[in-house]
Amino acid sequence: MQVRLQLMVVLSAITVLGSCSREDRILRQPPSASNTLNTVQISGLNPGANLIPTPPSSNMYQESAYSVSEGQKLFEAYNCVGCHAHGGGGIGPPLMDSNWIYGSEPGNIFATIMQGRPNGMPSFRNRIPEYQAWEIAAYVRSMAGLLPKGVSPNRTDEMNIKPAESSTPKQTPTGITGVPEQPK
């Protein structure tokens, strides 16, 4: 009985402490990789490895609730909602479903934001800092349930009939799927 109680205390302490890092605020952003994307890429074919941009440190924006909520704020501030609404789409494609035309990996979404895409998606390169594009990419993934529940925003400031990102069921991505090959 005593042992079980101690075990429960230790386990709950680990659970509680383990969830702290999700709230870490990344206020000093790492320097952005220079010229990550300097050319417009229209073709899906690449010479050599199929490289896509990677976040500065592996998944740091995907694992931080602060970054994802910043992404949510920027999604509105930079008028992504103008075409994609709050994920349901309109002029632009919906982002909360399973269909990803240009890939669902953070790097794919980052490239889409930075390069722009045919038929209306503008290029935000040089207009927004790279870390903000990574934050927006993380938020976009949360809309399709691709982020852990603990990281996704659980409330919005808008009148919104869709459930919060944290309770969106995971949509298995279709289209370009799988993790692209990364440099060794």
């Binding site: 000093r28 952003q29 501030a77 927004i128």
Partner: protein, 340 residues
């Protein structure tokens, strides 16, 4: 006791206007509203002071009368009907005085609240103040859209005219507090409310967000610049104009940098393609005394530091760092400094 004495001393000094009046002080009212509040403050202060003195006197008197029993059993005291009766009267009348005093304070609080609220003019200057994390959006609404002035953090008002402030907030609850002018007013997101004041003496009065609103709550200041009606109208006419065309080649380059970098994603400069409403309107940024919500003086160095690394100056602020090349940075600072 020392603490109480020093408190009294500081109040007496403030009363005697020995201290610098300052531009951020409840006891130096520049508006009738703050005057009413100050009057209530001193009324309550002197009541409490009298209570304090009486309490200490009673305590000292009781101490002086007390007999000290060194050792042995406590003396047996005979029941004294007369003394009990007197004590009953003393306690009863003290309670009656306390209740009556509290009732007077309550009534005066309500009366002061009414005097602060009541609008005496039907033709006020109307100003919309919207709280943001962590700055104040200030606009002077007009039924003609091109006659609406929008600025940030510095509220110009004419002396001697009633001012109505309409409040709202974009994100969380903020509170508008300029102690020389009037009491605190909360800015609630999605809920518009209004209050009014009128300033008697020209001057610059400092204000501060008074409701904790996040990391940079302490750096969310504003100022109220009270000036004569003529000066106010001249300022308003100047603010209505579109941004000045840059005249030097450096400033022209600065405008180009502004319009091709992250700046235009959040800021408006009327007369250019920059039209986002997420950050402060910079159309006449050079006409302001301070930047970053009263955090830095509006100088070339402070502007450059703020543009390059605002997260060092106000960690958590919505403004992103802008790693511009030195030439681009100088140019954009030159452009902003020309926006009078």
């Amino acid at each position: 006791m020392t603490a109480a004495l020093s408190l009294v001393a500081s109040h007496v000094l403030a009363q005697a206007k020995v201290l610098d009046p300052g531009r951020h002080h409840v006891l130096h009212p520049a508006a009738p509203q703050a005057g009413h509040i100050e009057w209530l403050y001193w009324f309550i202060f002197w009541i409490l002071f009298a209570v304090f003195v009486l309490m200490i006197a009673a305590f000292a008197g009781a101490g002086a009368k007390a007999r000290v029993v060194a050792s042995g059993p406590l003396p047996i005291v005979e029941k004294d009907e007369e003394a009990d009766h007197r004590a009953g009267w003393a306690v009863g009348s003290a309670m009656a005085i306390t209740v009556a005093t509290l009732f007077v304070v309550l009534v005066l609080s309500v009366v002061t609240g009414k005097r602060v609220e009541g609008l005496t003019s039907k033709n006020p200057v109307t100003i919309q103040v919207t709280g943001h994390q962590w700055w104040w959006e200030v606009s002077y609404p007009n039924s003609q859209a091109d006659q609406t002035v929008t600025t940030a953090n510095e509220i110009h008002v004419p002396v001697g005219s009633p001012i109505v402030i309409l409040t709202n907030s974009k994100d969380v609850i903020h509170s508008f507090w300029a102690p020389n002018v009037t009491g605190k007013r909360d800015l609630l997101p999605g809920y518009s409310s209004a209050f009014w004041f009128e300033i008697d003496q020209p001057g610059i009065y400092h204000g501060q967000c008074a409701e904790f609103c996040g990391l940079q709550h302490a750096h969310m200041g504003f100022s109220i610049i009270a000036e004569s009606v003529d000066e106010f109208q001249a300022w308003q006419q100047q603010q209505l104009k579109n941004a000045a065309e840059p005249s030097t080649s450096e400033a022209i380059r600065g405008r180009e940098v502004f319009l091709t970098h992250a700046c235009l994603m959040c800021h408006t400069i009327r007369g250019t393609d920059a039209g986002s409403r997420f950050g402060p309107d910079l159309t006449h940024v050079a006409s302001r005394n301070m930047i970053a919500s009263e955090t830095l003086p509006n100088t070339a160095g402070a502007l450059a530091g703020w543009i390059v690394d605002p997260q060092r100056i106000k960690p958590g602020t919505q403004m992103s760092p802008n790693p511009l090349s030195p030439d681009d940075l100088q140019a954009v600072v030159a452009y902003l400094q020309a926006l009078h």
